[in-house]
Every structure is written in C-alpha cells, then in structure tokens.
C-alpha cells in the first residue's frame, strides 16, 4: 500500500485491531506521514464506538462514583496552589518555613474538608436528580390537567365496547358523571343516575339520554349538600324518571 487506503473499511479494520502482519505495518507507516488518513482513522474510531451501544446498559455500583470523587480530591490536594509555587523561588529560609507551616496547616484543613466536599458533591448530584424527577412530575400533571388534552380509552381490538360510567363526586362541590358505550333504549325509556347514600334511600341525580355512540353525561345535578355517597348506579326507567329506582341496573360503582 503505497498511497492512501482505498476504502473507509480499512480504517475500521485498523481501529478495530483486526489487522496484523504486513497489512498492519503498511497502514501504520502510512499514517505516520498522512494527516488526511489520520483524520479518517479518527472518524473510524468514532464510527466503531457505536458498537459499544449494543451492550445492554447495567447500573454502576454507587461506590464507584464515591471512589472516583475520592481520587479527584486526592489529586486536587496534591496540586500546589499557584501563589505558593511562585513565591517559593523568592522566599528566604524563614519565609520558606513559614510558608511550609502554612501549607501543612492548609493541608490539614483540606483533608478535613475533603470528605465534606465529596458529600456535598454527592448531595448536589442527588438534588439534581430530584429536581429532574420533580420536573417530570409537573409535566405529567400538566398533560393530565390541560383542557385540550385528548383522553382515549383503549380496549382489545376485537372486543365489543363495554358500557362504563365514571363519577366524580365531592359531597360539598357536586357531582360529575359521564357514561360511554351504553346501548340505545327503546322509546319511552331513559337512563337514570342514582346516588346511593351511606344511609337512607337512593337519591335521583337526574336522567340522561345517550348519543349515537352510547355516550351521555350529567354535570352538577341538584343534590342535597353534604351527603356521603356509598355507591352510584344507573338504571333504566320510564321517560322522565322515577322517585325511586324500579328498573334494571345497567351500571353500578361502589365508592372505595
């Protein structure tokens, strides 16, 4: 190989360490004098580094970070402060001794602070992670509560839609109810929603009709305030509703 390697894959093979013998020597000697091919080798290294991403990630034992930070602090402690390094050359013996004592004293303080610094770093990292989680939680809440969020219930593709209702009830603030997938009723019949109190007879929360998709709702019906609910139910009743349930229960849900 007198000139440049012809293919990028030659650089891949070199970066991989697969070349040997004459092939290896030829490419290596060429690389010594060819900046262009060195650049291509750098690209090959980067390209191949992606292969490492095929390894399933594993959690690193937490003590590795702590050991790393310990080494970082030890390394930092060995570095002379620039001001002392500069002064040392000009110091008289007496000043040198004073500086030495000062350095020793600073070293003791530094050693004492080293562990605290490491702990602070770990705490800062933990705080960063917690803030991240808090941001995520706020984002989740935003999505859930935004007015224009689309809510979709998914069911098995082959299943027939199952009638269901959802009630949101607050004893002082009121009741929201909506139903889905209810079958159409014959003329003269209606759905009626009931609040079943902890004590006493069911209280009518109103009647409702459904649309073509079987959806219906009742929002903030007049109800006696402060009633503790035990359950909610929907029955099929004569048009206009009845004072107490008489018909078939099509939906029921207990307050947990």
């Amino acid at each position: 190989m007198n000139g440049h390697p012809q293919f990028d894959v030659d650089f891949d093979l070199y970066a991989l360490g697969a070349l040997e013998g004459e092939e290896l020597q030829t490419l290596e000697s060429h690389l010594e004098s060819c900046p262009e091919c060195l650049r291509r080798l750098e690209e090959a290294r980067g390209r191949l580094s992606r292969l490492a991403l095929s390894v399933p990630p594993e959690p690193v034992p937490p003590e590795v970070l702590e050991r790393l930070l310990g080494r970082v602090h030890a390394h930092r402690a060995k570095q002379p402060a620039p001001i002392f390094a500069g002064l040392w050359r000009w110091a008289t013996p007496a000043l040198a001794l004073a500086l030495l004592l000062l350095v020793v004293a600073l070293g003791l303080v530094t050693a004492r602070n080293r562990d605290l610094t490491r702990r602070v770093t770990l705490l800062q990292l933990a705080l960063t992670q917690q803030e991240t989680e808090a941001d995520r939680a706020r984002h989740v809440l935003d999505v859930l509560t935004a007015a224009d969020t689309v809510k979709v219930t998914l069911v098995p593709a082959s299943a027939r839609p199952v009638p269901q209702g959802k009630a949101f009830y607050h004893a002082k603030k009121g009741l929201l109810f909506y139903a889905a997938n209810l079958p159409a009723l014959p003329t003269g019949r209606t759905y009626q929603l009931w609040l079943v109190p902890a004590e006493g007879k069911p209280i009518s929360a109103g009647v409702f009709q459904t649309d073509a998709q079987g959806n219906g709702s009742i929002l903030l019906p007049p109800l006696p305030p402060g009633v503790t609910a035990k359950a909610f139910a929907v029955t099929v009743e004569p048009a206009g509703g009845v004072p107490q349930p008489t018909g078939q229960k099509v939906l029921i849900g207990l307050v947990s």
Binding site: G17, E43, E58
Partner: protein, 191 residues
C-alpha cells in the same frame, strides 16, 4: 439545573459540563459520570466479564477525564465516542494481559481525547435510546457469521487470524465477513 437521563429537554450539554470540569467543578464531572458511566461500565463488563475490573476501568476513565478535560476539543471530537473507545480499548488491554498472550498491546496507544471524531449524539437520553436502537437493529440484520466475527473483533479484540483460529473458518473467509459486516454497518448507521 441539568437533568440526568430522563428524556427532558433541559439537559445541559457536554460542552458546558466539560468547561465546568476544566474549571474544577466536581458536580459537573458527577453529572457527566451519571450520563455516561452506565455505558462505559457495561462495555467494560461485557468485555472483561466481571464487575471488579469493569468498575476500575470506569473509574480510571472518568479520572482521566477529570485530569485532561482541558485538552478535549468538542469541535473535533465527541465525548461519548471517546469514552466508549477508551472503555473498549482499556478493557481489551486488560483482557489481553490477563490471558498472557505475550503479545504487544495493540491498544496500548489509546487515542487522545480529541482523536475520536464523530458527532455521536448521545448527550440526551432520548438520543441515546435512538442510537442504541439503530445499532442493535443494524447488528441484528447482519448474517449470523458476520455478526459473530464482528463481535469477536470488537468485544474480544481478536485479529483476523485469531478469529479464524477461534471459529475454524479459513482466513480469507473471516476477512471477507468482517469487511462486509463493517460495510453494512456503516451504511446502516450513516445518515
């Protein structure tokens, strides 16, 4: 504040963190560690097959980052790329020493921190997941014998003839397989 691996868009860039590391900010080092240590450690463990040695490799690499961050030129290189190259090379070196093959260490000349050129965009967890998915997909699409040859070269540091000895295939066949695998991989991963 920087986010760590949650897919959020507020993640601080490697460049900003490297600058802070150069200034002696240990928290920045810890954030980079949180971002990349899992990848580094996993590669080392895959190659070395044990946790203790993999932990040492990960620790050594991030310690080197701490000491040499000022030399890192993000305009030329990719931190993620360099960390992965370093993890692989150091692990292969250890593997070869452990196996006492008596051969010179081919990977002893580890590329410098600015000698791994590629815009390996794995700074955010979303980008990382996407890249991981691309690489795994590309490897899965390789014929079995090509993928095996590539894995022997990458994860065990074997040369052409060592792969041929290991698999019992002719040397020429091994060379063709590896070359073809690398070509396919480059086409699959290059935009």
């Amino acid at each position: 504040m920087p986010a760590i691996g949650n897919g959020s868009e507020i993640e601080i860039t490697d460049l900003a963190l490297i600058r802070r590391v150069v200034g002696g900010d240990e928290t920045a080092l810890a954030v980079l560690y949180s971002r990349y240590a899992g990848m580094v450690y996993s590669v080392a463990k895959r190659i070395l097959g044990e946790t203790g040695a993999a932990e040492e490799v990960a620790q050594d690499i991030f310690y080197q980052l701490w000491r040499t961050a000022s030399r890192f030129d993000l305009a030329r290189g990719s931190l993620g790329g360099w960390l992965l190259v370093a993890a692989r090379n150091r692990s292969i070196d250890r593997l070869r020493r452990r196996q006492s093959r008596g051969q010179p260490e081919k990977h002893g000349d580890e590329p410098g921190i600015d000698q791994v050129a590629l815009n390996l965009n794995v700074e955010t967890s979303v980008a990382r997941k996407e890249m991981i998915s691309q690489v795994r997909g590309a490897l899965d699409r390789l014929p079995e014998e090509q993928r095996k040859a590539l894995e022997l070269a990458y994860f065990e540091g074997l040369t052409h003839s060592e792969i041929a000895t290991r698999t019992g295939d002719p040397l020429g066949t091994v060379k063709t397989r590896l070359r073809t695998a690398l070509e396919s991989l480059r086409q699959a991963l290059n935009p």
